[in-house]
């Protein structure tokens, strides 16, 4: 069965700057409530963890290949399963697009390298 991969890198400092500049206007447009709760730290949301989630969302978009379709960031949620593994949950437009184009079994891995968060997403494509 064909597979498709997407990868993305996000500068953690860029996320820190966006949080400082836009605060909730940025956070609420990009991250779900659950993601924000998962990224909460003693000094507010952790830009490092946010950056990893943004990278995973963008990597997922590269796999979904939306073309002219609108796929809001909020329709792709990144969360941790009980074992600590990052998993993707699609909803709304992202779910519809995946179903329509037969993209399934999306799997992600996220990590960090110095000032950068990265993510790769791999999925099966086809019936």
């Amino acid at each position: 069965m064909p597979i498709r991969a997407g990868i993305d890198l996000v500068d953690i400092e860029d996320v820190r700057d966006a949080v400082a500049l836009w605060s909730g206007r940025y956070l609420d447009r990009v991250y779900t409530e659950r993601e924000l709760a998962d990224c909460a730290g003693p000094h507010g949301v952790d830009p490092r963890r946010l950056a990893a989630r943004f990278a995973a969302k963008e990597a997922a978009l590269k796999v979904l290949q939306p073309g002219g379709d609108a796929v809001p960031w909020l329709s792709i949620e990144v969360r941790r399963d009980p074992s600590g593994t990052a998993v993707l949950e699609l909803r709304g437009p992202a779910r519809d697009l995946a179903d329509r184009t037969m993209v399934r079994d999306l799997t992600t891995s996220v990590g960090y390298a110095r000032a950068t968060a990265y993510a790769i997403v791999i999925a099966h494509v086809g019936s």
Binding site: D11, D14, R29, F54, E58, V71, W73
Partner: protein, 81 residues
């Protein structure tokens, strides 16, 4: 409007070139704008032009060029007037 868009791009898009000199149809992602930077551009545009991008416009093409952004802003302003 275009000057305002170019100013916002210089402030937030992190392009590898001066936004004032970029062709209206040039691809901003090819010119160095990251997906994350496009979020900053979107919010700055909302502030500057008193608009809000609906979910249906959150696609790469909306922010892909100065001309595309100008068209999107004009459409949203027309809808709100």
């Amino acid at each position: 409007m275009t000057n305002g868009i170019r100013r916002i791009l210089n402030d937030h898009a992190r392009l590898s070139v001066d936004a004032a000199s970029i062709d209206g149809s040039a691809d901003l992602f090819d010119a160095g704008m990251s997906s994350h930077a496009s979020v900053n551009v979107m919010i700055a545009l909302e502030d500057a032009f008193d608009i809000e991008f609906p979910d249906s416009m959150l696609r790469r093409a909306t922010f892909a060029s100065v001309d595309a952004i100008g068209g999107a802003v004009a459409r949203l302003q027309a809808e709100s007037s």
